[in-house]
């Protein structure tokens, strides 16, 4: 599904990722952890082609991301859903419109758009805010709008960068359940998170990054290996 071969990414002269090699199979659930500035966001951005690697190769669904023609990038992105750390919502549009956007771009029929958007908004508990401007809702609400936008499309790969940073324990739990359900349907899920609750509950494969390197890549969270974890 997703393969990194000795990927290095520089910003100016600073290496945000160094010689990263990893392989995520279809249907896996991966948790990216590591301290602030470890390179989690960079790794996720490379997967959906928002950044281009300086060295190494990245295959996503057997296509080399770096070599992809610019006109093919949109079609690859439509198979993925992502929650960005800085939300990236269209501030002037309503919550509904923001969530509907990935469907409209693909030309989904009107009735189906409404049905799917409602479903996604209900899943994140925001159906009552559907008519509000995206810029007007609270930070936690915006984060949930992003999650709804990421899942509305039933993506093959779901990438989420700190999706619960602005949510309280109860909502975090709900979102974890949501991601679990999506994963259960066969979607490949990759989460970058600092939240111990998420790491504990998701029970996925844990990849720990530090200063752009993979520190450890292990199975599900357990008390024994958690001591130095997140």
């Amino acid at each position: 599904m997703i393969q990194f071969f000795q990927v290095t990414k520089y910003f100016d002269r600073y290496a945000a990722l160094r010689d990263v090699t990893l392989r995520v199979d279809k249907g896996e659930c991966v948790l990216l952890t590591g301290p602030s500035g470890a390179g989690k966001t960079t790794l996720l951005k490379l997967i959906f082609g928002a950044e281009v690697p300086d060295e190494g190769q990245i295959l996503v669904q057997n296509r080399n991301i770096a070599r992809l023609r610019a006109s093919d990038v949109p079609y690859l992105r439509r198979t993925m859903g992502f929650v960005l750390q800085d939300f990236k919502l269209l501030p002037q549009k309503t919550v509904f419109e923001n969530v509907a956007l990935p469907l409209i771009i693909q030309g989904t029929a009107g009735l189906e758009v409404r049905r799917k958007v409602s479903e996604a908004l209900k899943a994140v508990g925001l159906d009552h805010k559907r008519g509000s401007q995206a810029a007007g809702v609270s930070a936690g609400e915006q984060q949930r709008v992003c999650i709804a936008r990421a899942i509305v499309n039933s993506p093959i790969i779901l990438l989420a960068d700190e999706p619960t940073g602005n949510l309280d324990t109860n909502l975090t739990m709900e979102i974890i359940e949501l991601f679990k359900a999506i994963h259960a349907r066969g979607t490949t899920v990759m989460l970058a998170t600092h939240n111990r609750q998420v790491v504990e509950e998701m029970k996925g494969r844990i990849i720990r990054l530090h200063s752009g390197r993979v520190l450890s890549d292990q199975g599900v969270y357990s008390e024994t290996n958690s001591l130095s974890c997140p």
């Binding site: 928002a50 610019a70 949109p74 992105r77 990236k88 409209i104 771009i105 693909q106 989904t108 029929a109």
Partner: protein, 299 residues
């Protein structure tokens, strides 16, 4: 279908959401095209005026004294056979004296005591349009001088040259100034549209992240640019027409140039439409350009 509907609604929503910068763009476009239009209108009217003045260029063919009627009609036939001649009018010796008295009442005494026919009969030749150049008239005069019964041929070489020069002068002037203004117009409009899209860099970036294709992103902007251009062009037309009417009204009120009133004119419909079409093309082309320059960077 849903996508087209979305694009239509999107365009309208975009225009509404950015109504301030769209309005600024429309006004700027209007004023810019109007700048060019003012100059073009000036050129248009001067050229027309020169054209109507050129119609009045005349060649005087003076006949020998006491030319017979047959010879007179021979000269007339020759003149009418010339390509360059539009029309021919005969002034007899008597008419010539009358004209002199009318034109120079104070010098009337000069003709006293010079007999019945102090002035020769003549033909007044009006030239066909396109034959008013100095050389052509020179050639015509040369040929006519050889016709029997013709004493001498006079024409105001200066006047022909001056008008000819005026038109050429107008033409280089128009070329240089028109070029500057045209470049200015394109630059200003393209820049205005580009600036008003700059603010929406983020929006475009987000759409790309979600997986929108280049054309899906570009269409609403291009339509918006075209809208801006058309409305700007229309507005500039209204401005020009308004300015023109004020000008004409002032001219009428001042009572000067009664004759000019019929000569000066606004653009014909085709050119008016051209102005709006220019706005349309400029608007859509510049927005296309600015959107694609934002889309080019891969991210």
């Amino acid at each position: 279908m849903r996508r087209i509907l979305y694009l239509v609604r999107e365009t309208i929503a975009n225009i509404w959401a950015n109504r301030m910068s769209v309005a600024i763009g429309v006004v700027t476009t209007a004023f810019t095209i109007a700048c060019f239009g003012v100059f073009f209108l000036l050129y248009w009217n001067l050229k027309n005026l020169a054209g109507s003045l050129q119609d009045e260029i005349q060649v005087m063919v003076y006949l020998e004294p006491d030319t017979s009627k047959v010879m007179v009609s021979g000269v007339r036939r020759h003149l009418e056979g010339e390509h360059a001649v539009a029309s021919v009018a005969f002034i007899s010796e008597q008419e010539a004296v009358k004209d002199f008295h009318q034109q120079f009442p104070e010098e009337s005494s000069l003709l006293d005591g010079m007999g019945d026919t102090p002035l020769p009969a003549s033909f007044v030749v009006t030239l066909a349009p396109g034959f008013q150049s100095s050389e052509l008239v020179e050639g015509l005069a040369e040929r006519v001088r050889g016709v029997p019964g013709v004493e001498f041929v006079r024409y105001s070489r200066d006047w022909i040259d001056t008008l000819g020069l005026f038109v050429s002068y107008l033409e280089i002037g128009a070329l240089v100034i028109g070029l500057i203004l045209a470049v200015a117009t394109v630059t200003i409009i393209a820049n205005t549209i580009r600036l008003s899209f700059y603010a929406r860099k983020k929006e475009i970036e987000i759409l790309r992240l979600i997986g929108a294709t280049g054309s899906f992103i570009a269409v609403p902007y291009v339509v918006e640019g075209a809208f801006l251009g058309v409305v700007g062009g229309g507005l500039s037309l209204a401005l020009l027409k308004g300015g023109f009417e004020v000008f004409r009204f002032e001219l009428d009120a001042s009572g000067w140039f009664q004759g000019l009133d019929s000569v000066i004119a606004f653009f014909p419909l085709q050119i008016s439409i051209l102005l709006v079409v220019t706005g349309f093309l400029l608007g859509s082309a510049s927005s296309l350009l600015s959107v694609y320059s934002l889309l080019r960077s891969r991210a």
